[in-house]
């Protein structure tokens, strides 16, 4: 018993200890918000046809998720139980409004592309889910880490889906961001030139852009495959229903 007490006393001191690390790692893999908890699928699948908007969306959600957890946790003892949902919604809506205007000012093209999906971060279930499940019962710093971790877990899937869809659908990466990597396509400008007549590039002569990947439905297939791989590797995650 004495030992247990000791470890608890020690744990209080490090700012980024083992538990905090767990809070980041867990949602990235075994407790991923999208593939395991099925939260927050709503607002963002439509933006993943290109990597750049997915990345922006991911950063926005990490920001909103982290800071809404922090603020809610700071206020947790003053919020009455009955109106907590409204208070949480107002905190989230405030942060999303900030994100909205920052993007409008500094990244107008991507703001146009994301259109209503920025506003829809408000109703993104991970944000509210984390507030309800974690921030209302934990200290500010840990809630902040937890929010960031869940935002990252969400963003990781978003970017992964974006990469797959953009490479196979358009043959590019980061189109529209200014980096514009041309990966594979039928001309000299691409890294892999499918029209090449000599060298190793001739191996890819069969390649053609897959238009299915540009369609919204492709996001569902890519996520289904991620879920499949994840659950095949870790049978504990399989749900029976």
């Amino acid at each position: 018993m004495a030992e247990v007490k000791d470890t608890k006393a020690v744990e209080k001191t490090p700012l980024f200890g083992k538990e905090e690390k767990q809070l980041i790692y867990d949602p990235l893999f075994d407790n991923n918000p999208i593939t395991i908890q099925v939260l927050g699928v709503c607002s963002a699948l439509a933006v993943t046809s290109l990597v750049y908007p997915s990345l922006v969306m991911a950063v926005a959600v990490v920001f909103v998720c982290g800071f809404s957890s922090l603020f809610t946790s700071l206020l947790r003892n003053t919020i009455p139980k009955q109106v907590r949902l409204i208070v949480q919604l107002v905190i989230i809506a405030l942060l999303v409004t900030v994100v909205n205007f920052v993007l409008k000012a500094f990244a107008y093209p991507v703001y146009k592309q994301l259109s209503v999906y920025i506003g829809l971060i408000i109703t993104n279930c991970i944000v509210m889910g984390r507030l309800e499940a974690f921030a209302m019962a934990n200290k500010p710093w840990r809630s902040f880490i937890d929010g960031i971790g869940n935002g990252l877990g969400y963003g990781a899937i978003l970017v992964l889906v974006g990469v797959v869809r953009e490479i196979f659908g358009k043959g590019t990466l980061f189109a529209g961001s200014g980096i514009d990597m041309m990966m594979i396509g039928p001309s000299e400008d691409y890294w892999i030139n499918t029209m090449a007549t000599e060298g190793w590039q001739t191996m890819f002569g069969w390649y053609a852009n897959n238009n299915l990947m540009v369609m919204p439905a492709a996001a569902m297939f890519v996520i289904a495959i991620v879920i499949w791989i994840q659950r095949a590797r870790n049978p504990k995650l399989v749900d029976i229903s």
Partner: protein
């Protein structure tokens, strides 16, 4: 009138909120395990979308735009939705206990259903008029209703199929939704103007 039918058909079939825009995905995946509950939730969504859209339209047009408070749009819209859901819940409970028993549990869930807020935001960005926004709300709700009923029915059937264990449940739901999305794309060929008749 033809214009309104256009908007309705477009929002219900061609630009289905779930299958084309992925709105309301969380409750769509979580509540589609049985047909009965899916039916209840679907009705509630039609109901709430049909009510919140015109109210948000009025607020946007007569309150936010004239005094240039558009930056408060998100907060006001979500507050309207939350309070409308609460109000609808109370009214339904008082006057129609039967309907309340059917919808009751699902109404609070709807506050955080992205389809509702998404509908209102689409309404603003597409600059609908008041009657159009009503048609869009009802049409979008109907499309959502159709989608959740279809997937619930399929998921009830697929329980008896021999699916790889790792894909069971959630994985299959994603795959089916993807296939349904592809199937709904076939409806893109519909020309709403033809159905609505000469204007």
């Amino acid at each position: 009138m033809g214009e309104l039918i256009n908007v309705f058909i477009e929002s219900a079939f061609i630009e289905n909120l779930v299958l084309a825009y992925f709105l309301g995905m969380c409750s769509y995946l979580a509540v589609s395990k049985s047909l009965n509950t899916a039916f209840g939730l679907g009705l509630a969504v039609i109901f709430v979308l049909g009510i919140t859209m015109p109210i948000n339209w009025l607020i946007n047009e007569y309150l936010l735009v004239p005094i240039e408070l558009e930056f408060l749009r998100f907060i006001l819209f979500i507050a309207v939705i939350a309070s409308m859901v609460q109000l609808v819940e109370m009214v339904v409970e008082k006057y129609s206990p039967g309907l309340y028993a059917a919808l009751g549990i699902f109404l609070p869930l709807i506050t955080v259903n992205c389809a509702i807020l998404g509908g209102s935001l689409f309404m603003v960005s597409r600059e609908y008029t008041l009657p159009e926004s009503v048609a869009f709300g009802l049409g979008g709700g109907f499309g959502w209703f159709l989608a959740i009923i279809a997937i619930a029915a399929i998921r009830e059937k697929i329980r008896y199929s021999n699916v790889p264990p790792a894909l069971r449940g959630l994985g299959m739901a994603f795959l089916i939704t993807g296939l349904m999305g592809l199937a709904f794309m076939a409806l893109m060929g519909i020309d709403p103007a033809v159905i609505a008749g000469p204007q």
